[in-house]
Every structure is written in structure tokens, then in C-alpha cells.
């Protein structure tokens, strides 16, 4: 049976909506640790998810047994009917343009044509370039994944797409009076050509580790903060972007609920989430088959849009904009970001530093977390420097900062022309490949946590 035949069958059973997403994954995963190939794995898998909406209730079945998709569909119908028994609030799917298309995202050099031996040589070569007396331990990871997806919906969309993603991680550890580590991930949507970018990052991690080994613990309390482009990206993603995810907005879990058209950030702030730009989180269609497009979430400080899948667009009476992504065929799509960027401004980096009496210049993310309902966030920087009277004084380690999202967005007083991006994996119960970035950003006041 084709996907369309199964969808027709589900419609015949009285379903309100149905979609099927069939996926085939091809993955290579290598880890080189301290000169030894610790992990050499490769494999493929396939499966599908059938989603059925029956009046107001959903039933979703993920299966790796492609020979019994009709059984899965039957079970999804019965689960949707069961959900509907409990669900009183009305729901629906916002209208979108339907598409019948095949898209293959390009690889200049197809990583499936590169031998595993060559990939191993790449890691070994990179490892040699990281040999320094202050580096105690090195871990390099390489992952490439090609997913071939077919998505069909009961509205008539039928898209096939191939998305290749590739990533390399450099993690180095050293020891002085304390043990410190520095890491960078480099990659994108594309082919083996993207491994070249890994070489550009080797000096970044080496310099960072050497600095951290000399660094002191940070002060604590309220002060100014300058974020480098990568940290700006993570801030835009974590503190702001999650709150702009429509599933959180529509269920009373976002501090941005009801604020479209209102001022939520200082005038110089524009934030976009764009799956169509070059990035690790790029895709041509989302996992509901909606065509990808740029979303300008904040324009000149005014809240302009949310990231919307079809159901939440229906609930909020907005337009769906390609916001549904699923980790793989086992799970239903959630509302997710893609490539999140705070647009660059008009300042030079030195000008930002000159404006700071007491503060911290923080670089590269060590992770972050957010409470979207309460509008609070916590972040960690991998590398940081103390700023006093407009001058960078000395390196700091283990710098964390926290604040209230809406207040902090209003406190942005400067953004540089210079911008950059970094890659990450966002966790929201499922993992999604993302890019984030922006300019260097000055925040006039946040809370920095330290032990001094």
C-alpha cells in the first residue's frame, strides 16, 4: 500500500486529519579518544509515524515495521478516538499550501562516498594538530547522518526530501590547580566538505583551554555582560526562542502569550528563526510537510511572530510557518526552532567594552536552561573575562548568569556589526540539530553567579 492508500483508508474511518512520515536513516558515528578509535559504528534503520486526529483527540504510532503500516494506522485511529473521549477543548489544523515535491539538499562531496578509513584519518589528523603540552586529554567525534523522508498528509501534500547533516566535535581537557575543558562543535546541513571548518576551530579550543587553566573564579552579583556571537545565539535560542514556540504559548507556558505587536525587547533587537538559511538546523519542509520559511520573531523590539506548527497556528489563529520537527520516526513532531539569529547591529566590539564599568565578557556556551512560563533563564559560558572601567582585565572560569527574559531583552544596549554562528543540539524531550548566532551583544544588567 502506498502512503496515500493508507491515508485514504484512515479518512474512510472518519478521521479529521492524518499524516504519515516514513524515514530511512544512514548514520556513521566515530569517536577518537586519546589516539584510540573508541567508537566506530555505522548502521541504517527505517520506520514510520502515523498520526491521526479524530475530532479533538490525537493518536500517534511510531513503528519500525514498515510491512504493517495499515495495522499501525488502525491502532492510531483507535488511540485518537480514545484521546477524543478525554479532550473537550476544540482543536484543528491551520490551512497550508499543499505541495508535491522532491527535494535533495546538496552535498558538494557526498559523505556516503567517503570511506570510513578516510573519516578516521581526518580525525587523527585533527588530533595531531591539538597536541600541546597543556592538553591532557583529547576527544574528537564525527557524525554524519542522511535521512530520506517521505511525508504525506490527508490534505494532499506529498513531499520527499533528503537531508544530510554532518558534525565534528573537538573536546580537550587540561589540568592546572583545577581540571578544565574546552569544546567546539562544527557542522551543518551538507556534505563532507563541511569537515574543513573543523580545522578553523582547533586554535579556538586550544586558546580557550590555555586561558581557562590560568583563569580565576568570577565575582557574583549584578553587572553588565558582553556576549560573543555564539553566546548571543544561545541566549536568543534559549531565553527568547523557546518562549516563542507556539505549543508553549497556546498552553499557558510562555511569557510571550498575548504579546504579538507589543514591545518585548529594546529597539535594536531583531531576532529571526530561518530554516532556509545555511545552517545545521536547515530543512526544505517541516515534518508536517509545510514549506519552510523565515520567521522574524522580533522586529525592532516588537514581537512579530511565533514558531508555529499547524495545530497551534489553528489555536492561536495565526499562519503555520513550518515549525514542526521530529527527532525521528519514533516520535511525533514538536514545535522547534531551526537557525536562530539575533541580527547584527552597528557597533564595534571595542565600543561595547568601553561602555562597561564593571562586567563580564563571556564567550561560547557551556549550556543553558529556561523556564518559559516564568520567563527566567540560566546560562553558562565556556570562557570569560572580567571587564573594569572599559578594559578587559583577566580571564575567568565557570561563569554562569541568569535573569528574567523580558527584562534582559529590554536591557540590550549595543550589538556589533560583526556576527557569527555556532551549532548545537536542542533538547525538548527530543533532540534537534540547530544553529544559532548573532553579533556581540551588551546587556546592561544580569546576575552573574560566582563564589567570590
Amino acid at each position: 500500500m502506498s502512503l496515500k492508500d493508507i491515508i485514504d483508508y484512515v479518512k474512510g474511518q472518519g478521521a479529521t486529519y492524518c499524516d504519515i512520515r516514513k524515514e530511512r536513516w544512514e548514520t556513521t558515528n566515530l569517536t577518537l579518544k586519546d589516539g584510540e578509535m573508541e567508537k566506530v559504528t555505522s548502521g541504517n534503520e527505517e520506520g514510520a509515524m502515523v498520526r491521526v486526529l479524530y475530532n479533538n483527540g490525537w493518536g500517534n504510532i511510531g513503528t519500525s515495521d514498515l510491512s504493517s503500516l495499515k495495522n499501525a494506522a488502525e491502532r492510531a485511529i483507535s488511540m485518537a478516538k480514545n484521546s477524543n473521549e478525554y479532550k473537550k477543548e476544540k482543536t484543528g489544523m491551520a490551512d497550508v499550501e499543499t505541495h508535491e515535491e522532491e527535494v535533495e539538499m546538496p552535498m558538494e562531496e557526498n559523505f556516503l562516498d567517503v570511506s570510513t578509513e578516510e573519516k578516521v584519518s581526518f580525525l587523527k589528523d585533527l588530533e595531531k594538530k591539538l597536541e600541546k603540552d597543556f592538553v591532557r586529554s583529547t576527544e574528537l567525534r564525527y557524525i554524519d547522518r542522511l535521512v530520506d523522508k517521505e511525508i504525506a498528509t490527508s490534505d494532499g501534500t506529498q513531499v520527499n526530501m533528503k537531508i544530510p547533516r554532518i558534525v565534528t566535535y573537538l573536546i580537550i581537557t587540561g589540568k592546572s590547580d583545577t581540571i578544565q575543558r574546552a569544546s567546539e562543535g562544527i557542522g551543518g546541513t551538507g556534505g563532507y566538505e563541511l569537515t574543513d571548518r573543523a580545522y578553523e576551530k582547533k586554535d579556538v579550543v586550544l586558546d580557550r583551554l590555555e586561558t581557562l587553566l590560568e583563569a580565576e573564579t568570577p565575582p557574583s552579583g549584578k553587572m553588565s555582560l558582553i556576549m560573543d556571537p555564539h553566546l548571543t545565539g544561545v541566549f536568543s535560542h534559549e531565553a527568547f526562542g523557546h518562549a516563542a514556540e507556539s505549543d508553549l504559548v497556546s498552553t499557558g507556558n510562555s511569557c510571550l502569550e498575548g504579546k504579538i505587536g507589543k514591545k518585548v525587547a529594546s529597539d535594536i533587537v531583531t531576532i529571526k528563526d530561518d530554516p532556509t538559511m545555511d545552517g545545521y538546523g536547515s530543512f526544505p519542509f517541516d515534518d508536517e510537510g509545510t514549506k519552510a520559511r523565515n520567521r522574524t520573531l522580533v522586529k525592532d523590539g516588537i514581537l512579530n511572530d511565533f514558531i508555529l506548527d499547524r495545530e497551534n497556528a489553528w489555536k492561536l489563529d495565526m499562519e503555520a510557518n513550518g515549525g514542526a520537527r521530529a527527532e525521528d520516526f519514533r516520535v511525533k513532531p514538536l514545535v522547534r526552532m531551526s537557525n536562530t539569529i539575533m541580527e547584527p547591529g552597528d557597533m564595534e566590539f571595542d565600543e561595547l567594552v568601553e561602555e562597561v564599568d564593571k562586567g563580564v565578557y563571556a564567550k561560547s556556551s557551556g549550556g543553558g536552561q529556561v523556564n518559559t512560563g516564568e520567563g527566567t533563564f540560566q546560562f553558562n559560558a565556556q570562557e570569560a573575562y572580567l571587564i573594569e572601567d572599559g578594559e578587559i582585565i583577566k580571564p575567568l572560569r565557570d561563569v554562569s548568569f541568569n535573569g528574567f527574559t523580558l527584562q534582559t531583552l529590554q536591557n540590550i544596549t549595543g550589538i556589533t556589526k560583526e556576527m557569527d554562528t555556532g551549532i548545537g543540539h536542542c533538547g525538548k524531550g527530543q533532540t534537534a540539530a540547530v544553529t544559532d548566532g548573532g553579533g556581540n551583544v551588551l546587556i546592561s544588567e544580569v546576575t552573574v553567579g560566582g563564589r567570590e
Binding site: E45, I61, K87, G373, S400
Partner: protein, 447 residues
């Protein structure tokens, strides 16, 4: 037991045998049904079934790994053999047949309820429990999941082991809506058997958020903090578990390197990894390499005693596997992992731990940003309450708590309110069995 999975593992093993190679085959089947809570209602039901094999081949002392789904064993074995050519050389000895413990980890009632779709009713109980407390409290987000799993591991040395397990877990976020921002608090619980009080989970979340209406001023400086089990578990997992990993010890990436036999924690503190406990959150008869489960005492009476190893690291560190080779699904080769970390102390009543002035913390934001090599942390305690003269007062906001976890352990005090704490952050699955704890050596800063 799942016939298809067992047959597939056997078939892959025969293929390895025919090639006169050594190796092991790990098969997993998991069926998971979950129910989502959105805005005070059950909104959807989802189910997935996962089925696959991880194949490890040792050829000329080199290890290759591949994975596949049943029916594609030949391709999986061929791929693992090819990859062994470029892998490290290591004289990996596979386990031989041995007696294995038989902890209780399978509850038929859980399996039955997964088949009969009772989860929807349980989810409704969670929702009602949260809604019934006060009119303005809404369970805005949550989920309940029921899973039934099977694992099979066989190797070319004659080991062939099978186990089945069940789990029920649920978490709910209760919210009081506000004009600008809302207030929220959550509760989550996990069990391997059908013994959770679903209504109480909703009610507990509602009671927590209800207690956050009044604000208190955040005390600052070096003050004692009492961490509830979930918050404490998060910090322990990110701050101490990497330090007891045998590979990190060998490579000098642990604060506990060279400190075996030293006092590293309060005298009463016992930290063990015990996957042999009945109904333990991470219990099972054997690890994912077929090594029988055993109790590993990590810290005994405050003295650092033992670290954890899988087969590979055991060879490199010249010791034995402690049964800590876990895979995180069939697609990953084994790696060192904690199984069922249990923390016990002198077991004071939690009330006795509450300080004259300090804060009580139910959750932490940013535990994963902790420096895993040094144990230095700086996290936000939320929700958190002011404690004065042993009494819990209003909520405190923006409490940034900084310290070093290995140092905190040296003067830690533990309560007796043991909880099987389960949390996911990113792709990491955190499971620990532990009580509330009082941290006496941290700094609180904030607005």
C-alpha cells in the same frame, strides 16, 4: 519473551560463529505508550515500538560495531566486521556463563495496563489531582508513559541472557497564570511497577505552586541550602557520577584520581551503584555486555572505595568490569554508565535539616552546565523557598547557588525521604535513588 528478537540475536551470533570470529549481539525491544497533558486536558496518545540489534565483532583483537533491524543480520554482521579493520586493538575478553542475580523489574500489571490503554485514565487522575486543589491552578503541561521492554545479550562464549522490564513514569507542571508571567512548579515520579499514586502526583505539583504565591527576600552569602531529591540528584549526576567513571580516573579527568581510600564525604555517607535491588529504578540482572549485575560500593562511611568500569575500560585500567557497560539503545556500543546509584546517610528527618536561615530548593536550572571535570557549579534554584528558624516561608527568585560538589559532599547531611528520582535533560536520562540533602558549603547570590 519476544520470539522474533531472540531468533534474530541467535541468527546474528551464528553468522559471527561461522566466520570464526568472536563477538556479542545485543537485542532490544521496547514498546512505549505515552499520554500528553496540555492546558489541563489529556490531548494525545502516542505509541512506538523499537526493535533492533547491536552487533560487536572482535577480529584480530580489533572491535567493530554495527546495528540493524531483525531480518538484516547479515548486513549488520558484515558492517561490524568491516569497521573492525579501522578500530583500536584491544584484547577484549567477553564474559563467560555465570550465575546472575534476579532482581524484580517486571510487573505484569504494568504490561496489562499498557495493552488495555489504562494510561489515559491514569493521566486523567494526574490532571484531576492537580485541578482539584484550587480553581486557578492548571496542569498546563505533562505526560505519562508506560513502557515494556526486553533485552537479549548473547556472545560467542556461550552467554545467552534475557530479561524483561516495565516502567511507569509521569511528570506534570502546575501553573498559576499571571498577567505578565506565570508561576509554575512540577512533580515527577517513576516506578517499575504499578504502585504510583497518580492523583497525588498532580496534587503535589499543585501544592508546590500554591506555596509560591507569597514572595520572600532572597538571603545571600554563605548560607545552608536544603535540596529536595530531584534537585540533589541532578547535581550529583552531573557533578559526581563523571568523577567515579574509571576512564576519567585513568585519564586524570576526575577530582577523585589518586584519592581511593581517602575521606571524601561526611562519615555517614554511603554511595553505591546497586542494580540488584528489587524494583530499583536502574536494576536488571546483567549489564548490556552480559556481565552479571553486582553492588559496587563507591563511597563507604565517607571513604572513597571503588570506581565503575565496563569490559573495555577494565582491560585498560587492569581491573575487572563492575557490570557498568551500558548502551543507551541498540545503536550505540557499550560505554561506562551508572546503573542504579543509591545514596544513604544518617537519615535525619527532613525538618531537622532545615536551617535557621537558608533556602529550600526543589529544582535547579542549569545542572548540565556544571563543570564535569572539577565539579564546580553555578545553578539557579527554582522553585525555592526562604527558610527561617526551621520554617518554610515564601518563594525566593533568582537564587544563584555556586559551589563545588566534591567539596559539598564533605559536609553534606542527608534526610530519610528517599525517592526514585528520574529526569531527562537533553538526551540524558538521569536515574538515582536518594533523599533530600543539606549543603553546608555553598554561596548564594542573586538580585
Amino acid at each position: 519473551m519476544n520470539g522474533k528478537l531472540v531468533e534474530s540475536v541467535k541468527k546474528a551470533l551464528e553468522l559471527i560463529d561461522k566466520k570464526n570470529l568472536a563477538g556479542d549481539v545485543f537485542g532490544v525491544k521496547e514498546r512505549n505508550i505515552s499520554y500528553s497533558i496540555k492546558k489541563g486536558e489529556l490531548s494525545e496518545s502516542s505509541e512506538y515500538e523499537d526493535l533492533g540489534l547491536g552487533i560487536r565483532i572482535i577480529k584480530d583483537g580489533k572491535i567493530g560495531f554495527g546495528y540493524c533491524t531483525p531480518g538484516k543480520e547479515e548486513k549488520g554482521v558484515r558492517r561490524a566486521e568491516e569497521l573492525s579493520n579501522i578500530s583500536q586493538k584491544l584484547d577484549l575478553g567477553l564474559p563467560e556463563e555465570e550465575d546472575i542475580p534476579e532482581p524484580e523489574i517486571f510487573d505484569e500489571k504494568v504490561e496489562d495496563s499498557s495493552l488495555e490503554g489504562e494510561g489515559a485514565e491514569f493521566t486523567q487522575q494526574v490532571i484531576d489531582g492537580a485541578k482539584d486543589l484550587k480553581d486557578d491552578i492548571i496542569p498546563t503541561r505533562g505526560s505519562l508513559s508506560i513502557s515494556v521492554g526486553s533485552k537479549v545479550i548473547g556472545n560467542t562464549h556461550g552467554v545467552f541472557l534475557k530479561q524483561r522490564n516495565t516502567a511507569v513514569s509521569t511528570g506534570v507542571l502546575a501553573t498559576i497564570p499571571g498577567d505578565e508571567t506565570s508561576i509554575n512548579a512540577g512533580e515527577s515520579r517513576f516506578s517499575r511497577r504499578m504502585d504510583l499514586d497518580f492523583a497525588d502526583i498532580g496534587k503535589t505539583a499543585a501544592e508546590k505552586v500554591d506555596s509560591l504565591r507569597e514572595k520572600s527576600e532572597l538571603p545571600k552569602g554563605e548560607i545552608p541550602i536544603v535540596m529536595n531529591p530531584d534537585a540533589f540528584g541532578m547535581l550529583m549526576w552531573f557533578g559526581i557520577v563523571p568523577a567515579i567513571n574509571g576512564e576519567n580516573i585513568r585519564k586524570g579527568k576526575s577530582v577523585y584520581e589518586g584519592r581511593k581510600g581517602e575521606k571524601v564525604a561526611s562519615e555517614e555517607l554511603l554511595m553505591k551503584d546497586d542494580p540488584t535491588m528489587d524494583w530499583g529504578i536502574g536494576s536488571s540482572p546483567f549489564d548490556d555486555e552480559g556481565v552479571p549485575s553486582r553492588t559496587v560500593s563507591i563511597i563507604e562511611d565517607g571513604i572513597l572505595a571503588r570506581f565503575i568500569y565496563d569490559l573495555k575500560e577494565a582491560i585498560k585500567s587492569n581491573t575487572e568490569s563492575t557490570g557498568n557497560g551500558m548502551r543507551g539503545g541498540f545503536k550505540n556500543p557499550p560505554d561506562i554508565s551508572d546503573r542504579n546509584i543509591v545514596l544513604r546517610g544518617e537519615g535525619k528527618k527532613k525538618d531537622e535539616l532545615l536551617p535557621d536561615q537558608g533556602i529550600l530548593v526543589d529544582g535547579v536550572m542549569g545542572a548540565h552546565t556544571l563543570n564535569p571535570a572539577s565539579g564546580d557549579f553555578s545553578v539557579v534554584g527554582t522553585p525555592a523557598w526562604l527558610v527561617e528558624n526551621g520554617e518554610i516561608k515564601g518563594k525566593v527568585e533568582g537564587a544563584m547557588i555556586s559551589g563545588n560538589l566534591p567539596e559539598v559532599l564533605e559536609s553534606i547531611e542527608l534526610a530519610d525521604d528517599y525517592k526514585k528520582s528520574h529526569a531527562s535533560i537533553g538526551s540524558r536520562d538521569i536515574k538515582m535513588d536518594l533523599p533530600s540533602a543539606r549543603f553546608n558549603d555553598v554561596t548564594v547570590s542573586g538580585k
